[in-house]
């Protein structure tokens, strides 16, 4: 049976939704770097929220999707859940042997296991927290049980280089993770107040139309190889929850200093994302075909990339100011703010960390990276772009999560 994925494109806000959950593109570099940053944070037991955040979004999404399809039977629901998981680039599952009491399930192509081993090498501990949580949330939705009805153990992981597959034992019982309630679409703007800006020689609308028309979905192994990286159509609310739960844990332990400790971790993950995903986009054959022919100035490279970013589901980015020395990016409905507002209410500090890292990454790639020469994205090149003298830094000036109209990030040379 071929499943039509119920993808909703919110063009006005530059977002994607499935089952009420906003979905964003991120690559395996960001997925693993963010997770490692969270796992490495001292004094914080992150496993309950790394798993719980996934259970939450899976449960919320699949509950709605099953209703949209009129799927009432467990076999039908399992098929839908499997197909959606594969389509989003997380890998593949066969849920057929799982019942209301749980069971054992394996996967030989889990995104996180593949990504972790490729990026960091083998690790003795299992790394597929997202998949663990997804299974718990999915099973609860499949069998019309409350979220938190299942616990799961990730008993073996392909990232460990010992097993050729990942395995989970799922059982009915007390959950071994935190229970959250997804904010769904979050608190979005009623209408984006767009600025009158110079867009260079780039046709932003044309780029958006072209990229959102592409089939960027999981292959038979549940992977999305594109732009030189492995993409996932991931849950904005998952990223937000694991980020802000770590921040809140650090604040709880260390007070306001906790925010100062958390911010560089998340901004650095944004750097890693920009370096690899944006670098991959700008050196891809898709870029050569769609965007490169329009570029006449170096500033056009920034506009071309921002036009592409607007097709990632991150919200709508505008370039309000741009030169070789500095830039100001205005972001309408940035997914971090939307999620924060929906989860925790108005923030007392600026929280668009991914946006900060990504904005700095854009400027470093274009103005210091000679990106037009299609460099190799090596660790030394990363150090040169983000750690050496003269690199660009980002400062967030306004934040939707603090109740402001939009998020503003200024980038300048250090």
């Amino acid at each position: 049976m071929t499943l039509t994925i119920p993808l909703q494109i919110d063009r006005a806000r530059r977002r994607f939704l499935i089952g009420g959950e906003p979905m964003v593109f991120h690559c395996h570099h960001y997925n693993t770097h963010l997770q490692r940053s969270i796992l490495d944070a001292p004094w914080v037991d992150s496993e309950p929220f790394l798993i719980g955040a996934a259970a939450d979004v899976a449960f919320a999404q699949l509950t709605k999707v099953f209703t949209e399809y009129g799927a009432a039977s467990a076999p039908h629901r399992k098929m839908i859940a499997e197909e959606l998981y594969r389509w989003c680039g997380f890998g593949t599952f066969d849920l057929s042997m799982l019942d209301e009491e749980g069971g054992r399930v394996t996967s030989c192509n889990s995104h996180y296991a593949m990504a972790w081993q490729a990026k960091f090498g083998p690790l003795p501990d299992p790394v597929c927290y997202f998949a663990t949580g997804w299974l718990c949330g999915a099973l609860a939705a499949i069998f019309d049980l409350p979220l938190g009805s299942f616990a799961a153990e990730h008993v073996s992981c392909r990232a460990g280089d010992v097993s050729e597959y990942c395995a989970w034992e799922v059982r009915r019982g007390v959950p071994n993770y935190n229970i959250y309630r997804s904010p769904g679409a979050g608190k979005t703007t009623e209408k984006q107040e767009l600025l009158e800006v110079d867009e260079g020689n780039v046709d932003y609308e044309g780029v958006y139309r072209a990229l959102t028309g592409m089939d960027l979905s999981g292959d038979s192994e549940g992977h999305i190889p594109a732009f030189g990286v492995y993409l996932t159509r991931h849950f904005a609310n998952y990223y937000a929850r694991v980020t802000f739960e770590l921040e809140r844990a650090l604040i709880q332990r260390f007070g306001d200093v906790g925010t100062l400790a958390a911010k560089p971790l998340f901004v650095e993950s944004g750097h890693v994302c920009a370096f690899n995903m944006f670098g991959g986009i700008m050196t891809s054959t898709e870029w050569d075909a769609l965007i490169l022919p329009s570029l006449e100035t170096r500033e056009d490279w920034v506009h071309g990339l921002v036009a592409a970013v607007n097709a990632l589901g991150w919200g709508r980015w505008q370039v309000a100011e741009l030169s070789a020395e500095a830039a100001t990016f205005v972001i309408h409905d940035d997914y971090e703010s939307n999620a924060y507002l929906g989860m925790y209410g108005t923030s007392d500090h600026r929280v668009s960390y991914l946006a900060q890292g990504a904005a700095a990454g854009i400027m470093n790639l274009v103005y210091r990276g000679e990106i037009e020469s299609k460099p190799r994205f090596t660790p030394d090149f990363y150090e040169h772009l983000f750690k050496a003298d003269g690199n660009f830094h980002a400062e967030q000036l306004t934040c939707r999560a603090m109740g402001e109209k939009y998020t503003t990030v200024r980038v300048f040379r250090g």
Binding site: A118, T285, E286, A289, L290
Partner: protein, 113 residues
């Protein structure tokens, strides 16, 4: 006809080769490379001056992309195999690369003829 190729490993340790061709890539040439699927994005209809983009593959063996009318072809091959056996047989990946490059050479020679 001389083709330059630059080999790297992608993020999942799959061999990726960038080929720089002496002639523009078109659908006729792509059809001779041994793939079993082809997807063309008609970017030229979205933006004046843009080129169309082709993604094509031989299922489970290699995946390739290019801008049509461009000269760069990026091919990602299956995961690098183990060390060659004592008999000297090449790994499955090297066999796939060799087969692809034979087809590429033949397609270019036919274009030149």
């Amino acid at each position: 006809m001389r083709v330059q190729g630059f080999r790297t490993l992608d993020c999942a340790h799959k061999v990726r080769i960038r080929y720089f061709l002496p002639v523009p890539l078109d659908r006729a040439l792509l059809a001779r490379l041994g793939g079993d699927s082809l997807d063309v994005q008609e970017f030229s209809k979205s933006i004046p001056g843009a080129s169309d983009h082709a993604a094509f593959s031989k299922s489970g063996v290699w995946h390739a992309t290019c801008a049509l009318d461009g000269r760069e072809l990026v091919v990602t091959f299956g995961r690098s195999g183990p060390e060659p056996a004592a008999s000297g047989d090449p790994s499955p990946c090297e066999e796939a690369i060799a087969a692809f490059e034979r087809n590429l050479r033949a397609a270019l020679e036919r274009r030149a003829a």
